[in-house]
Symmetry: C2
Subunit: 561 residues, 2 copies
């Protein structure tokens, strides 16, 4: 009886796919799959704050929908170990106690994070090629290639059909450890029939193919061969391939290696422990003990290739790194390309390094970096292999999703079978069909500031912005209880407005303006505090604007005594 | 007698060249030449604020050295009408009453600025090819090509020899009005002998040649021919050539033109009045009256190609432009390329335009923009023509100056004849020789915030930064005169810290912590206000940091009653 009832409800047949992040944004990738009483989650990443998110450390997904359905959640599956896919896991696991599935290196990196947050976590290792079940969902992880080792794409059998999620990928035919994408399995899946594909759109605007990581190895080796002095090389710590390339080149040309930057040290430790990095014995030296080593026999691997203000490379460029001083003759290599928004900061670092006499090599002038994401022709290859009935571009800003949709149309998919959706929208999947539901779920950005998760919202950000633009002026006065007579003050205190010592006249006249207005209020018999505060605020705002054309935050504070 | 005396002082023979801006930075170009009692100034530009200059509108040069030598100043010569060469003139002319020399369009644009600042100004028009004297200096303006019409380079005869200043330039062999750079005069100067060249370094890192403005015309015409709907095109208002290209294409394809954005309207008015723009009658329509015009018969020229937040294009993208709503079918062209630092903002605008259904064409995907600055091969041509004895790269960050120095070495100049100097350093020029002086002059950034010029310094900026990152907490209390007893408060008020309504517990415990500490102080007999304030600050800082890992600005305010 119960079955029949359930079957009468058409919603109960549907698989719901709910992206909670990663659409119309770079980062914060997370996708939810739901069928009846089962939910699984794919990835759980963070995003870095936008410029206007002043003081915010990171942004994580809104878990409201998952909290409401917490009993249904069977597990979380992670495609690879980049921050935009794993960075929110510690925050998630503070609320949920569910298993997290990932490959060995991915879990190694997650484990590191959990340790920092003092969370145990139930991490379950998966091996590409194996299939495991979470509730009704049958999940197969398939080896893929990306700028971090041990990446997988996911084929998920659901009651509605197969959902294929590429994760982040590129087609690297000559990856470093010879572990190619599992083309044959992709081809089999394509033949078997995939209902819906979700695919990485990061590089959809770029024509052609992304070059193999191997080309970077060749370029770096050329530099190592020609360089007679110290080499300092910055790259993404998570790119274990790249780090291996650098280690190999160093060993080949008889250089010792010193490592700078906390995340670089962490990743190298984890990757070495798990067998993803091969570091010969006696090659590593302590970053604080490089002085005894000849410049031509030393390579320093460092973080900071994106110009992060507190990173090791930034500190070297600014001249306040504890162990390493940049000097004439140094060759500094930035094996990276700027993430949009970081161009200016990176340029500042280049200038400082050049000023200190270093020779700086960056991706504008040498082939020392390749992207980890598929360009247009690779996306076409993925579409050709998987032949999905329906397609949803993921991982990208709107411009990237839109361009990926155009590519899918080029590949023969009709427009109505392609879904450019927003975070929180729901796709309903039934046998042979996918539609956008009218249902939406709570979703969005949760801002993390220090220990605070979600306690900074738009009002706080608006105040921070106002404070940052013109500072603030506080008017403080003591008012006698009962009589309403000002018995002390008004005093004026400012921060971030003008340098007070050089603007005493301005502050004095501001105080007088406020005083006159308060006297006026008193003779008008106005005693209501909020009216008084309003009057002070208005008076001071227009006075200050007239004199300075600025709009500082004005804060009247009355104390009753 | 006097002459002999003067001649005995070797300093009196020297021409001093003092850059007060434009080195190790983009913008704020200004160079001072001094000989005995004569000073002339070349250009007087602004720079846009760096990210860390919170709330700052613009940055202008420090005029301290000129103020000290105000009686010597004979005049100012302007190479062209871009903000980074003219933007500080109104601020300068508030302090100095000297003539400003420039070509017709340049002075038209300066005149516009002076009107806004209600300054009369003594503007004197120069014609390329003519020579005029300012004190001992004999100045010849020579026609050059750049992304604004009526640009000149300067050949300045001084007692030490000829100084040649390229201004901003590119070699455009097919400029729009057929007015090429005056190659023949450059060649003559090279033969005559130039002591020192100062040359634009903006594009020194780019190989090859910058394409002609004409190529943009061809690309835009192709788009106009193919487009059947409304066209909205954003570009730099000062690029009168580009605006002419757009007008010509509009006229050719039977479109009316509406103009949006204050600076675009201003420049088009000035340029049309002075004969630099040819706008046929009955082509312009009011931006508020475009509804009666068919989409296929309309072009809107707008500002905002750099993503400026309040610009017309930004407002269109955000959907709050008064007259223009972006709709499906619109073709939006960004005829520009991002100035470093603006990439992210521009990308946000692209996303919004795409989301609204527009087709967006930008320089990544079509040849609809060319730079105004010379690339490597053009710089070599300039060096080949001028053959300077000494060289000083200008207009660029350190990386650009350094690269230009390498190019000069390639052209045969020895290293010790090339001067990469800092703002405020002095070059001493004598017959046949140039040396860097040990003398430096006061120089640097003066920040303009509203009406305030220089009243925001590092302390105010530091406070703005702190406030922007974690907001502030104010502790306010009234203290009884004499007894030192707290008779009201402590109260806690915060802005930009947490959303108070959702963090009442935190604020309450913070108040208790402060109260306890004050009680402790009282029983310890501490009455000194600064000691009390210090105790409150320490207590609250560590309490808040422990609870939130944040560092808001903490401001204890005690009122004596």
């Amino acid at each position: 009886m119960k079955n029949t009832e359930t079957n009468n409800n058409p919603n109960q047949h549907q698989v719901k796919l709910i992206p909670l992040g990663g659409l119309n944004e770079i980062g914060k990738n997370i996708t939810v799959l739901e069928y009846k009483n089962d939910i699984i989650i794919i990835d759980c990443g963070l995003a870095f704050p936008e410029d206007e998110m002043l003081g915010i450390d990171i942004v994580i997904p809104d878990f409201t929908y998952l909290l409401k359905n917490r009993d249904k959640i069977r597990g979380m599956v992670i495609t690879h170990g980049h921050e935009d896919h794993i960075g929110a896991i510690p925050y998630f696991l503070k609320e949920f106690n569910i298993p997290v599935y990932g490959t060995k290196l991915t879990l190694g990196l997650i484990g590191n994070k959990l340790k920092e947050h003092a969370i145990a976590g139930n991490l379950i290792t998966i091996t590409p090629g194996n299939i495991f079940k979470l509730g009704v969902f049958s999940i197969e992880a398939i080896r893929t290639t990306h700028s971090i080792a041990d990446s997988v794409c996911l084929s998920i059998e659901t009651p509605a059909g197969i959902i294929f999620h590429t994760g982040d990928f590129k087609f690297d035919y000559t990856p470093l450890h010879g572990q190619r994408m599992d083309f044959h399995r992709l081809a089999e899946l394509g033949n078997k029939g995939v209902l819906l594909m979700l695919a990485d759109s990061t590089n959809s605007e770029r024509k052609g193919y992304t070059a193999s990581e191997k080309t970077v190895g060749i370029a770096l080796e050329n530099i190592f061969r020609e360089t007679k002095d110290r080499i300092i090389i910055a790259t993404f710590s998570s790119n274990v391939y790249r780090v291996q390339i650098i280690i190999d080149a160093a060993v080949k040309y008889g250089r010792k290696i010193a490592i700078s930057g906390r995340s670089m040290v962490n990743v190298i430790n984890v990757a070495t422990e798990l067998g993803y990095l091969n570091v010969p014995e006696n090659v590593l030296v302590d970053i604080n003990k490089t002085k005894h080593i000849k410049d031509e026999e030393l390579v320093i691997i460092t973080t900071g290739s994106q110009g992060e203000p507190m990173s090791a490379l930034s500190r070297m460029a600014a001249g306040d790194h504890k162990a390493i001083q940049i000097k004439k003759g140094d060759t500094v290599i930035l094996s990276s390309s700027p993430i949009p928004g970081n161009e200016k900061t990176i340029s500042n670092i280049l200038n400082k390094l050049f000023e200190k006499g270093a020779d700086v090599i960056y991706s504008d002038i040498a082939d020392i970096h390749v992207s980890g994401h598929a360009c247009e022709e690779e996306l076409k290859l993925m579409h050709a292999l998987i032949k999905p009935k329906f397609f949803m571009p993921v991982h990208g800003e709107y411009r990237h999703l839109r361009q990926h949709a155009i590519i899918a149309q080029d590949m023969g998919l009709s427009k109505e079978k392609i879904f450019i959706v927003k975070v929180g929208q729901v796709l309903n999947l039934t046998k042979n069909n996918v539609v956008v539901s009218k249902e939406t779920v709570v979703s969005g950005n949760v801002m993390v500031d220090g220990l605070g998760v979600g306690d900074v919202g738009n009002i706080v950000l608006r105040d921070r912005k106002l404070l940052s633009e013109s500072g603030l002026i506080i008017v403080v006065a003591a008012v006698e209880r009962g009589t309403g007579i000002i018995c002390s003050g008004p005093d004026i205190i400012s921060r971030g407005f003008v340098y007070v010592r050089e603007s005493e006249d301005l502050i004095d006249s501001a105080r007088n303006a406020v005083k006159n207005r308060l006297d006026q209020c008193q003779s008008d018999g106005i005693k209501d505090w909020s009216a008084l505060k309003g009057a002070v605020k208005d008076e001071l705002r227009s006075f200050i604007y007239e004199k300075t054309k600025r709009n500082p935050v004005i804060l009247p504070i009355f104390l009753e005594v």
